[in-house]
Symmetry: D2
Subunit: 324 residues, 4 copies
Amino acid sequence: MEKEIKTIGVLTSGGDASGMNAAIRAVVRKAIYNGKKVKGIYRGYSGLLNEEIRDMTARDVSDTIARGGTILGTARCAEFRTEEGQKLGAEICKKHGIDGLVVIGGDGSFAGAQKLAALGINTIGVPGTIDLDIACTEYTIGFDTAINTAMEAIDKVRDTSTSHERCSIIEVMGRHAGYIALYCGIANGAEDILVPERYNYDEQELINNIIRNRKRGKKHHIIINAEGIGHSTSMARRIQAATGVETRATILGHMQRGGSPTCKDRVYASMMGAYAVDLLCAGKSNRVVGYRHGDFTDFDIDEALAMQKDLPEYMWEVARALSV
Amino acid sequence: MEKEIKTIGVLTSGGDASGMNAAIRAVVRKAIYNGKKVKGIYRGYSGLLNEEIRDMTARDVSDTIARGGTILGTARCAEFRTEEGQKLGAEICKKHGIDGLVVIGGDGSFAGAQKLAALGINTIGVPGTIDLDIACTEYTIGFDTAINTAMEAIDKVRDTSTSHERCSIIEVMGRHAGYIALYCGIANGAEDILVPERYNYDEQELINNIIRNRKRGKKHHIIINAEGIGHSTSMARRIQAATGVETRATILGHMQRGGSPTCKDRVYASMMGAYAVDLLCAGKSNRVVGYRHGDFTDFDIDEALAMQKDLPEYMWEVARALSV
Amino acid sequence: MEKEIKTIGVLTSGGDASGMNAAIRAVVRKAIYNGKKVKGIYRGYSGLLNEEIRDMTARDVSDTIARGGTILGTARCAEFRTEEGQKLGAEICKKHGIDGLVVIGGDGSFAGAQKLAALGINTIGVPGTIDLDIACTEYTIGFDTAINTAMEAIDKVRDTSTSHERCSIIEVMGRHAGYIALYCGIANGAEDILVPERYNYDEQELINNIIRNRKRGKKHHIIINAEGIGHSTSMARRIQAATGVETRATILGHMQRGGSPTCKDRVYASMMGAYAVDLLCAGKSNRVVGYRHGDFTDFDIDEALAMQKDLPEYMWEVARALSV
Amino acid sequence: MEKEIKTIGVLTSGGDASGMNAAIRAVVRKAIYNGKKVKGIYRGYSGLLNEEIRDMTARDVSDTIARGGTILGTARCAEFRTEEGQKLGAEICKKHGIDGLVVIGGDGSFAGAQKLAALGINTIGVPGTIDLDIACTEYTIGFDTAINTAMEAIDKVRDTSTSHERCSIIEVMGRHAGYIALYCGIANGAEDILVPERYNYDEQELINNIIRNRKRGKKHHIIINAEGIGHSTSMARRIQAATGVETRATILGHMQRGGSPTCKDRVYASMMGAYAVDLLCAGKSNRVVGYRHGDFTDFDIDEALAMQKDLPEYMWEVARALSV
C-alpha cells in the first residue's frame, strides 16, 4: 500500500549546477500547490546530519530561478557514506516529519538516496550535473548552461587566437565524460577534440594536423580538451616546441558551473522538480527522474545506476567531418 | 534504383533563424567530406528562379557558425508557389547540375521542396524556424536562441517592473504556436501566460489575478503574451484602467530571430545539415530531417506536413502551478 | 560651523537605472566604514512621506551589486512637489534621526533634495538616469548598461535585417536626450540616427538615403530613432511605401533600464555612492556628485540644475562620416 | 610647412584588444570621407617589412565593428626594433605611397611609430591595450570589454564559490598594471584585491582576513589577483592548507582579450580612429591620440611615452572600504 506524503524535504548534493535553484523552486511550489509542506535541507547530506533544516514557503524561492549555484548550498559528506550515517539521516528525516525527499545531484548523490529509500524515506533523485554523465537521462541540470558558458569563452579565445595566428588549447570540464568537449568542439568549430571516451591520445597526430592546417592557410587551430585528459599547459608547451606555432592553454574551470541558467536549464529543471514532487505524491520511492526519448520519465534508482552511456557515435563522426 | 548525387545545392527560405549558418556550414563541409560539390543558392526560392547560384568551398563557411541570420539570405517568393515557378526551379537546378537540394526553412518551404522532389530533384528539408511549430520534430533551428534572447530581455524588464511595482506585458514571437511564450513563462516565472493554443482569453481573470497578487504583496506581475494573441499595448491600457496598477507593454519583435546562436542551436543545426547530406548521399529524396525521441531521424515530407502537434500538457500544468 | 552627521538615509527616486544597487550598497558600506548609521527609505519620496524607513546593515546589501533595478524601489510623488510635502519630509527625516540624506535619481529628484537641504537636512544628489541628461556630469548611473543592452539588441535585429535585406527602425530610450541613440548609432554602424537635439526631421532625406544605399548594394539600412522623436511604427509604414524596401520598427522599451549592470556602472556607481557619504561626513549639503574632466567631483545643486549640455559635436560629425 | 597626406596606412601591433576593428573601420571610413586613399598593413610591423599591404575600401570594413580581435592581424617583430628595420619600414611606406600612418597598439608600438615619424612618415598612435597602462590617456581600446568579460566570469565563479562556501582566487590580466583587478575587485565585491602597483604581498594578512570573514558568516571569499602578482594556483594551495577553507584558483587568460566589443569600446575606438585621421589630414605627425579630462585629444609621442600613471588612490580606498 502506498504511503501518503505530508512533508517533502529537498536538498542539493555534489557539485553545484546552474538550474538547481529552478529545481528547488519547483519542488517547493509544486509541493505547496499539491497541498504538502516543504522543508529545505542546507549543505546536502552533511546538513541533513547536522539538522540544518528549515521550513520553506513559496516566497522563499521568489527571485531565485534566474540565479546560478544553489540557495541550499552543497557539500561533500564522508559520514553519509557509512551505514551509521545513513541510519542517522533517516532518523533525522523522521524526526522532522520529512516523509518524502527530493535529492538533486549526480550518481553519488543517488546512491545516498537509494539508502534512505531502503530505510523508509520515500526518496526521488533529480539529475543535476554539468557533465551530462548520468546514463538514464538525456538531460541533466546545468549542462546546457555549462556548454553555453564554455562556448562563449572559447569564441572570445578564438578571436585573439586568430589575430595572433596561434594554436589554442582550451580545457573544459568533464572528468569522466566528454559531452561538454564534444558540444563545444562542434559549436566552436574546433580543429581537434580530446575526450576521455575516445582516449587514444596521439600527440604526433595533433602536431601533424596543426602543421597541415597552417599550410592550408588556417589562421587558428582550436583544440578542445576535456578535463579528463587534462595537462593542457604542458601539452601547449610541447606542441609549440614541435610545430613552431605559438600555442597557449586556457583552463576554463569553475566558471562553467555558475551563471544565470539558460532557458532550457530553467524550464527542464523546473519540470523535473515538479515531476519529482508528483512522483512522491503518487507514493513512489527509490526513483530517479529522467528525460528520455522526448519526455520526462522516471527509473528505478538501482537500474539507473547500473546503466551505461557513451558519446553519440554519429555526433562524434560529424564533429570530425566538419573540422576539415 | 537510387540515383547517385554529384552536386548538392543549399538554400534558406522563409523567416531567418539563428543557427541557419551552422546548418549551411554543415551541408557544405559534410558534402565536401563525402566527395560532393556544393552550390549555394541565394535569397531562397526567389534566388533559385533568378539563378543566384554560386559554388561553395569549405573556406566560404569559415567563421560563420557563430553568426546570426543566414549568409545565403532569404526571401518570400510568390512565383514559386505556382506550377510554372516550380518547373522553372527544377530546370534551373538541372542546368546548374544540382541533383540534390537541402532546403532549410519551415513548413511552407517544405511544400516547395516537395514539388521539386516530384520534379526529379532529390530534396531534403531541414526544419528552421524559431517558433518550434513543425510537427514532426522536437527541435527546430533557432528556437533555443530565441527563447534565451526573449528570456534575457524579460529578466531585464522584470528588474524595472519590480522596482516600480508595475505590471508588465511582454509580447514574444509565435503567431500560431505558443512555445516561446510557454518556455519564457516558466523560465521568467511569469504570473500569466497567453498562448494561441489555449486561447480562452478572459481579461477579467487576468485582472483578478493581478489584484489578488498585489494584495499578497507581489511586487511585479509579468504577463507573457504570444504574438498570436497580440494587442499587448491596448491590453496594457485596459488592465491599468481596471486595476489601478501601472501597466506597460513591451513587444520584443525581431531581435528574437537574430544573435549568435546558442550552443544547442549550433550543434543541432550542424547535425541536421550533415544528416541531410547523408540522406542525399544515400539516395533519399522528399524527406524532412527531424529530432525525435532523442535522435536525429527523418520523415516523408508528405507525412511530416500532415502531422499535428500541441503544447505539452504537463508543461502547461506545471507552468500554472509554479506561478502561484 | 559644520554639523556632524550621525545617521545617513538613502533613497532612489524617478526612473530606475541599472547600477542604483551598487550606489546604495556603497552608501551603506561607506557610511558604516565611516562610523555612521544608515537607514534605507523605500519607494522614493513617497516612501519617505509614508515613513517606509528601515535600518540597513552591511549584510542587507550583500549580493546586490550585480542586480538590476533598485532594492529600495522607486515611485513618483506629487505630494513631495508641494511645500507641505517637503516640510513633512524634513520632519520625518528628523524624527528618524536622519541628518544626512543621499538621493539617487535625476534632475527632478535633485529639485526635491534641494528643498530638503534648505529645510536643514544635509542632502547630496547622486546622478542616476539611463539618459545621461544631467548637465553637470559626464557619467550617470545606468547609461553604460542601457547602451550595451540596446546595442546587443540592435546587433540581433541587424542579423535578421541583413538576411531579409530590410530597413529597420529601432527606437531607443531618450525623451529629451539623444545620447543612447548617438552611441548606438556609432556602435551599431547605423545608416541614420534621429535625435531630439538635432531635430530637423526630413523624411524625404531618409528615403533618399535608403534608396541610395540600396543601389550601392548595402543589404540593410538601420535607423536608430530616439524616443524623443518617436512614431517609429508609422514611420516604418511610410518609408516602406515610399521606398518599396520592407521596413520594420522595433521599440526596445523598458528592457534598457534593467539587467545586471556593466562593470563601469558597478564601479562608478560605487564610487559615487561612497563619494556622497564622504561629502556628508565632511559636513557638505545641497551638492550633487558628478564625474567631470576625468574625476569624481561635486557641484552646488542650484548651479548643477542651471547647467546645460548638448551632444558632443565632434562625435555627431564622426557618426555621420562613418555611416557613409 | 605641413605636408598634405594622400594615402593613409593603418596597422595593429602588440597584443590584440577588442575594439581594434572599430578603430580600423573608423580610420578607413574617415580617411575615405576626407578624400584620402587607405591601405591596410597586415600582421603589424612584421607585415610592413614583408609588404603585406592591401588597398582598403569602405566595404572591406563592413560588418567588422562588432567583432573581437583585429582583422589586420598582429605580430611581434624583433627586426623593427633595429635601425635597419625602421629604415626599411619607412622605405616600404614610401614605395607604397603611404605618407600617413595610424598605428594602433601600446607603448611598444608607439616607440616604433616615433621612429617612422622621425624618418619622414607622418605617424599617429592610437592606444589599444586591455591593460589601460598608457599614461597619457584615461581610455585605451579593449579595457572596457576586458573588465566586463572578466567581471561576468567572476560573477559565475562566485555562484559556485558561494554554493560550496569556498575561497576563490581569480587571476585577471595586467602584467604591470592592476586596473582590471581593481575594477573587477569593486564590481564583483571581492574581499581582497592584489595588484602590482600596491605590491606588499602579505599572505598572512590574506589568511587572517579569510578566517575573520568565515567567522562573520560570509559564504565566499573572492580574491582578485592581477597577472603581475601571479602564482594563483600555488597561492590557493597554501591558503587552503593554512585556513582549512577549500580554495580554488581560476586563471581567466586570453578570453579577456577577445569577444564582441562593448558599446564604449566600439564608440571610443571609432572616435579615436577618426581623430587620428583628422590629425594626419591637419598635417600632424609623431602624436598619440588620448582621451583625457573628458575629451579626445593628442600628445607628442615623446612626451606621452615619458608620462607615468598610477592607480587612482581614492578608488583604491573605496575598494577596501566596500569589501568590509
